[in-house]
């Protein structure tokens, strides 16, 4: 095939960049050059990078605004944690358990993606966006009501809608353990997520999304974004390809959720709220729609930055807000763009692809 295609070269550089960054950070960490808090952020950074890549598939590639992506992350996190914890005695290898947890997380998130996608994808534009927001909140609330435990007989699941039931209603056998305690979330989780596993997940997500984009299916998905009516006129099945993008995106978010959930000893469902969805959306928009490299950089930098600004604790979120507004104005306002163009005469082409 074509070897001189610039987009293929860019894809290659992205992979190379991720691996290089991993090696650098890994070596730095092994030599104790990273602060404690930064080391602790490595797995969440990987999870957010995968979240950004996956959301970019929905927002940038499919062209539909989703405001509830954290919901899929949540489904993945909790199903992954349940899988990892209930298999703890059967599968001693933490790596294998992590892999299984991520697969389980992806599958459950994909199923949720189908359930959410069927109604959502019939809508258009801002109506679609608000319904994804609604689903995100619903998922958060539903998980908040879950009480899950495991014992010799298998999993015990309770749905605590009225707040009247408690852990004891699980009737666990001797030696059983509680995994999710309703609003208190999953506690006593053994943190088995590792930085290398996170990087592998990033690479996997990249392979899936980039290869998809350069295939027949990906072209069809982008055609729906660019012009739905023309896409139908050449025989592209709108529902099928919208669903394909949406569910793939949900599955990747689920895997990211499992990775994230297994990095902490406690995880609560309110962590995956509207604000988390928005945070990931900001990564995607700042990194550039449809631009996976941009998503990775934006997610990594914007997750590290607040950590790096810990010194200014009180002002960092304020600074973040101002930076967000200024960047948006700077990249989208014609006058501001012209000004930036004058200041930096040889602006890279990639920057213009953003937003």
């Amino acid at each position: 095939m074509k070897t001189n295609n610039p987009s293929r070269l860019k894809d290659f550089l992205t992979f190379a960049g991720v691996i290089l960054a991993f090696l650098v950070v890994y070596i730095m960490r092994s030599r104790g050059m990273l602060t404690r808090s930064l080391s602790g952020q490595l797995v969440p950074i990987c999870a957010y990078v995968v979240m950004a890549i996956s959301l970019n598939l929905t927002v940038g590639v499919l062209g539909e605004l989703s405001l509830g992506h954290a919901g899929f992350m949540s489904v993945g996190a909790f199903s992954g944690v349940v899988a990892a914890m209930s298999l703890a005695s059967v599968i001693p290898s933490p790596v294998l358990r992590l892999v299984i947890a991520m697969v389980v997380g992806a599958i459950f998130a994909a199923i949720t993606g189908v359930i959410v996608g069927v109604p959502v994808l019939r809508l258009q534009g801002d109506y679609l966006a608000i319904v994804t927001l609604a689903f995100g909140e619903i998922i958060k609330d539903l998980i908040n009501c879950l009480i899950v435990g495991v014992d010799g007989n298998g999993l015990h699941i309770l749905f605590n809608a009225t707040g009247s039931r408690s852990v004891s209603d699980l009737h666990l056998m001797e030696g059983g353990k509680v995994i999710i305690k309703g609003a208190q979330g999953a506690t006593g989780v053994k943190a088995i997520a590792t930085f290398p596993a996170g990087v592998v997940l990033i690479l996997l997500a990249l392979v899936i999304v980039l290869n998809l984009m350069h295939s027949r299916s990906g072209r069809a998905i982008m055609a729906l974004r660019d012009n739905r009516i023309a896409a139908e006129s050449v025989g592209i099945n709108v529902t099928k390809y919208k669903m394909m993008a949406f569910v793939t995106s949900a599955a990747l978010a689920g895997a990211a959720g499992a990775l994230y959930g297994l990095n902490f000893s406690t995880i609560v469902s309110s962590k995956f709220n509207f604000n988390t969805s928005i945070t990931v959306l900001v990564f995607v928009v700042l990194g550039g729609l449809g631009n996976m490299t941009g998503s990775i950089i934006a997610a990594a930098v914007l997750t590290i930055l607040p950590e790096a600004l810990r010194g200014f604790d009180k002002y960092r979120m304020l600074a973040y807000a101002i930076v967000l507004i200024v960047v948006m104005l700077g990249t989208n306002n014609p006058q501001a763009k012209a000004l930036v163009g004058k200041l930096i005469p040889h602006k890279k082409k990639g920057a213009e692809e953003g937003a």
Binding site: R122, E137, I138, D141, G163, L324, N332
Partner: protein, 292 residues
């Protein structure tokens, strides 16, 4: 009787949603943007009125007026500085900017007033007792419902009768054509933000009066709910926002009472999903097909 009292508190809550949703829907109609900072203007209105009453010792009515003035200025300022430069930009860029503004307002409030909830003295206290005391309705509830109806009627008259209201409708339908007809698009949009923000201030005072607390994130959830209400009723439609607000308020209140307080929000959102599936542009929204 119990049902009636939940219903009334639902109507009262719904009225607050409706007032916020009216602002949302007007701004959406004219600027075609999801103004996520709208909910935070409510919070600002709450704090301004609180300071006016507590620290400056002003009467509640002056406090409301002051909150309205400050929020109006704030709304016009936000529109002029953050949204106007992006009039030609992709809608996602405007959305992210709105989120930035929302963070900015919340974190400014956090720095100034701190994270702890402040207790808010209702602007009017007391309750009416009906049916030998079996049913009690707070004056705040009555005031909220009355304010909502007055605002709704006034807005409907304003947009249908006044010259500026007609200009607003013209701009929301076709900016370029409105401009060619000699309408000043920028000032019309500013006016819309001014009205929407003034309404948010009123909503803020009423909301804080019924919940009696106030914190920097107070506006977020009601903002999202009101947005839901606006979409529920058909975004861009004034009667739609009113209807959507009321229905969602009642649904929320009754769900809390009879189904599950933990799932009340979910039931509200589920109601939105059901309505949009049956009517993809909301209860009173207009469907405009794409021309091929």
């Amino acid at each position: 009787m119990e049902f009636l009292s939940y219903l009334i508190s639902g109507i009262s809550l719904g009225s607050v949603y409706a007032i916020i949703a009216l602002g949302y829907t007007m701004v959406y109609g004219i600027a075609k943007m999801l103004n996520f900072a709208h909910g935070d203007v409510i919070m600002v209105g709450g704090y301004i009125s609180l300071i006016a009453m507590m620290n400056a010792g002003l009467s509640p009515w002056v406090a409301i007026l002051l909150a309205m003035v400050v929020c109006t200025l704030l709304g016009v300022l936000i529109e002029g500085l953050a949204y106007r430069p992006l009039r030609a930009a992709p809608s996602l860029a405007v959305l992210i900017t709105a989120i930035g503004v929302s963070y900015l307002l919340q974190n400014s409030a956090l720095l100034i007033f701190g994270a702890n909830p402040k207790s808010y003295t209702p602007i009017i206290t007391g309750t009416v007792h009906l049916f030998d005391g079996q049913l009690s309705i707070s004056y705040v509830s009555l005031l909220t419902v009355a304010a909502c109806i007055v605002i709704m009627v006034a807005l409907t008259l304003f947009t249908s009768k006044s010259k500026m209201g007609k200009a607003m409708r013209a701009v929301s339908e076709d900016k370029a054509a409105a401009q060619l007809m000699g309408i000043n698009v920028n000032s019309t949009i500013s006016l819309t933000f001014a009205i929407g923000s003034a309404l948010a201030a009123i909503a803020g005072v009423l909301l804080c009066s019924s919940y009696s607390t106030l914190m920097p994130t107070t506006g977020s959830m009601p903002g999202i709910k009101a947005f839901t209400a606006a979409v529920f009723g058909g975004i861009g439609s004034i009667p739609g926002a009113f209807l959507g607000g009321l229905i969602l308020g009642i649904v929320e209140s009754l769900s809390k009472a009879y189904i599950s307080s933990q799932l009340a929000n979910s039931i509200v959102f589920a109601a939105l999903i059901v309505v949009l599936l049956v009517k993809p542009t909301g209860l009173l929204g207009k469907y405009i097909p794409e021309k091929v």
